[in-house]
Assembly symmetry: C3
Homo-oligomer: 269 residues x 3
């Protein structure tokens, strides 16, 4: 039987001992667990970024993986802790929307409020439930406990708004959802929407007032330093500079508007 | 038999290959080891921060864990390398005080100077003993070697001063010991000292001249942006801003004074 | 049989899910893999730094380790993906020179272009081959597939220029190859070259116009704050400040010139 994987995503950073303490708790309960850090560098309290990063990668993990997602501005408050089963994956998180993007992709088959005290540490800190409630719950799931055993079933949980692109005639209007470490501007415009426009003729692409001169297969298809659009690794439109940092060069960040429209003058492709 | 856990805490950062080299050395000696990073982002040469972070989390790890703590401004000098057994835990570190806070919490049952050459790499770099002495020693412990086998017994080791709070009548005077990634100001004032004052009536809390208007159970008990005090996850007084960064907002950092005193005007709670 | 180690070195950073996605892919193929992060903080697109960091640590890993080195400005372009066997180690990387320093140290016994589609994910993103091509190839190697099975043999691969020191009479001229997290200036001048000069008499050491007053065994051999030269953990000359940050204090960075020469006035040692 393979060792169970627990994948962690938090806003705890890596300077403090917080992620380490959670891992110690997990290994105490489930010594066989394989721990994988997705990231601990979600910006503090940024539930939306946490939701998007988790949704972008969970499907690449082995069946049976438990995801422990702790971005939790309401730690210690009355907000619930939840666990969910989605196909072969399980998720443990505060009930604040951090699982919204995963659930949009894959409806949970089972959803519970984590209420069973025996799956928490004996004393629960009101400022660090990651250590005392969420990590133990994830470890018990990895050890074989069923999601349903963690607490009372829920019909619904908190969902956050994740910006979706709009389609108005021949114009798609979207947003930059995240800026990655390379400075690439990852948008919420799916490949299919752009390809539908392209099927009817040439298009133009603008990000925050900057015209993007080409839509190509990958960064290196344009000269070094040139601006381009590609379909990124999550199959959405991405604005990039080959070998450069698009966000800094354009002065554009998360939330910036992106437009894709049919063009009178054949700019792209 | 469970795989042995080795938990690493260093000031090596994560840009360079240094932590990776230590892990390679460990896995070469003890292929079964489960490696957990507590943090590699202790500020360079900051023994006090290393000592505090280690003490804040070691108790959450499985019995049998070996802690490898390398914050080592004296690398290559005559300062000793030490290993200690504290209950079910073992520690390997330079003898410079980085284990002070752990030892204050749990007196070592056994303490040795690591002198046995066979538990080091054949060649020991004078600038990277983490790789050539400390990592091998930790790996051999994880593999089953006894602490006593690593070298000559010691009666004492280097301890550093860790600021302790003072009590003067109805006034507790402490310090900010660390600022975490959320900007929370973690102090050295234990819950019990504050509760003893509270038992006698209302108190007031000041940090570096700023009055803290409330002592609550958790951050979310005050409005977003409001300053508050809580008892943090290590059960000491912590000054925070709900959803904000207290250190930046108050311009307060490590070492700042914190006062808790009985109040004529009932401010807290 | 020991679990196979896969050591990762990338420029993906740790904010995004990219390294996590690669790990998920690896564990899906090879659940027994032990994953070790060397670093994900290679500066974006900096092949030279990636090459140097990898060469500095690979030899400390267990026999059988698979190294997955993804610094890949040409992702999605026609540049090849390669796999190599070097003694007991295996390497998977884009063919862009990131293995140059390893190969200078240890000629590959076998070198192939990774062309076998069955060892990639069914769909390969043109912007994230780390996830879809490199990670699967590394995982299959760890699972027991031979390097030769991954694709067609190659005679040569791309090599980058790595600055080498020059010797002109009694003068060695080298460069700062990297600045580490402590601010130490790691040069390309090997210990042997300096010792050959020293055998003939006193020497002097200069970095970017600053005279380095002493060559010592380790940082702590000089007073706190003093500039010194040592032979670092990769046995090359390193310029440091005891307890300080040489790069910042001297205003010197990567590429700066370093000279070691015989001295009329006995400065060092």
């Amino acid at each position: 039987m393979p060792r169970p994987t627990i994948a962690l995503l938090t806003d705890f950073g890596q300077r403090d001992h917080y992620a380490g303490a959670m891992k110690g708790v997990i290994l105490t309960i489930c010594p066989d667990a394989v721990l994988v850090d997705i990231t601990h560098e979600i910006p503090a309290h940024d539930i939306l970024t946490g939701a998007l990063e988790l949704a972008a990668c969970y499907r690449y993990f082995p069946a049976g993986t438990v995801f422990l997602a702790v971005v939790d501005p309401g730690v210690g408050s009355a907000r619930r802790a939840i666990a969910a089963q989605c196909g072969d994956y399980r998720f443990v998180a505060p009930d604040n929307g951090v699982l919204t993007a995963v659930f949009a992709d894959r409806q949970p088959g089972r959803l519970v409020s984590i209420t069973e005290r025996r799956y928490a540490r004996p004393t629960v800190s009101r400022t660090f439930e990651g250590r005392d409630r969420f990590a133990p719950a994830a470890a018990w799931l990895a050890k074989g406990v069923e999601v349903a055993a963690l607490g009372a079933p829920l019909r619904e949980c908190v969902r956050i708004d994740i910006p979706v692109p709009g389609l108005d005639g021949d114009r798609v209007t979207g947003r930059v959802l995240r800026v990655d470490r390379f400075g690439n501007l990852v948008t919420n415009i799916p490949r299919a929407m752009v390809e539908r426009l392209l099927a009817a003729g040439p298009i133009e692409i603008d990000v925050h007032g900057h015209r993007v001169p080409s839509l190509v297969e990958t960064y290196a298809a344009v000269p070094g330093g040139a601006l381009c659009a590609v379909f990124g690794s999550t199959d959405t439109l991405e604005i990039a500079i080959n070998g450069g940092h698009a966000a800094e060069r354009l002065g554009v960040g998360r939330g910036a508007g992106v437009e894709v429209a049919r063009s009178a003058t054949a700019v792209v492709p």
